[in-house]
């Protein structure tokens, strides 16, 4: 248990390369590098056949088409076996008519969970908490979300973050609080006094030189 506590201390960070893995999943053995070139949302759930996780899997399945339009793949994870994942996915489909279209890692030896800091011993020493890692096509971690065992995730926010990251990458801008696609974006702050003065003449909507917005 001390070893788990020690290993659980490793937390990946935004901007770092996503830890490589090779894992058994419901779609066969997958490596992180198999997703290279696509965005990837790697998310963990505490356990199969549990209520909050079931609502989340239905919700992730419902946004999957929207994610695919944005070039994003989904990959679930828990420390259950492949047989358990298959049985749960079949049960969800039978009871709710929702088919789970994405693979789920069976992380029985906790190799991936520990590499990604998904086990938080203060919450549970055996289960993964509700983590979301948004990984870009170059396999760099761009966003990390952690939710406690008792709180199901918000799919709108996950889609919003993907839209924001892709908008940032495409246009070299930032996105303000509560930004939604179509809203004005934030122009990166200037680095020099000259740039700050020029900024005010560029027709942006500026509160002051350090906060300027523009329409895309």
């Amino acid at each position: 248990m001390e070893e788990i506590k020690e290993q659980a201390g490793h937390m990946p960070r935004i901007g770092e390369p996503a830890p490589a893995f090779e894992a058994v999943t419901t779609h066969g053995v997958l490596k992180l590098e198999d997703f290279k070139g696509s965005w990837l949302i790697l998310f963990s759930h505490p356990a199969d056949f549990t209520p909050v996780c079931t609502t989340e899997f239905i919700a992730f399945s419902e946004i999957y088409p929207e994610l695919q339009k944005r070039g994003v793949e989904l990959l679930g994870l828990s420390v259950d076996s492949v047989s358990s994942h298959i049985a749960w996915a079949r049960n969800v489909e039978e009871k709710t008519k929702v088919k789970i279209p994405f693979p789920i890692i069976a992380d029985l030896n906790k190799e991936v969970s520990l590499a990604y800091g998904m086990i938080h011993p203060g919450q549970s020493k055996t289960e993964t908490v509700r983590c979301v890692f948004i990984i870009d096509p170059n396999q760099k971690i761009r966003t990390i979300l952690y939710y406690p065992l008792t709180t199901g995730r918000n799919m709108d926010e996950i889609l919003r973050i993907v839209d924001a990251l892709q908008t940032t990458d495409k246009n070299g801008v930032a996105t303000p609080a509560n930004w939604r696609p179509g809203d004005k974006v934030v122009v990166p702050p200037p680095n020099t006094q000259e740039m700050a003065e020029e900024r005010l003449k560029q027709g942006y909507e500026c509160v002051d030189w350090y906060l300027c917005r523009k329409k895309l």
Partner: protein, 73 residues
């Protein structure tokens, strides 16, 4: 095993990939486009098919092996 069943026969997705390789050397991207399977599934599947001796890898492209060709005849 996602592409090869325990009895050694290719699954539906495995068969799709093998058929896509019938026309010669192909990249995973080309196989994904031809089969409609997600690229990550194709990369993983081609690895598995190659390990099973049904395909051969030449740099980053794949082609059917003799064993693979016989299997889908």
């Amino acid at each position: 095993m996602a592409c090869i069943s325990p009895d050694g026969k290719p699954t539906e997705s495995g068969t799709k990939m093998l058929r896509a390789l019938q026309a010669g050397l192909k990249s995973p991207e080309e196989v994904a486009q031809e089969t409609g399977l997600p690229l990550f599934r194709v990369r993983s599947g081609l690895r598995e098919i190659t390990q099973a001796g049904l395909a051969e890898q030449k740099e980053d492209r794949y082609k059917l092996s003799e064993k693979g060709a016989k299997l889908i005849k």
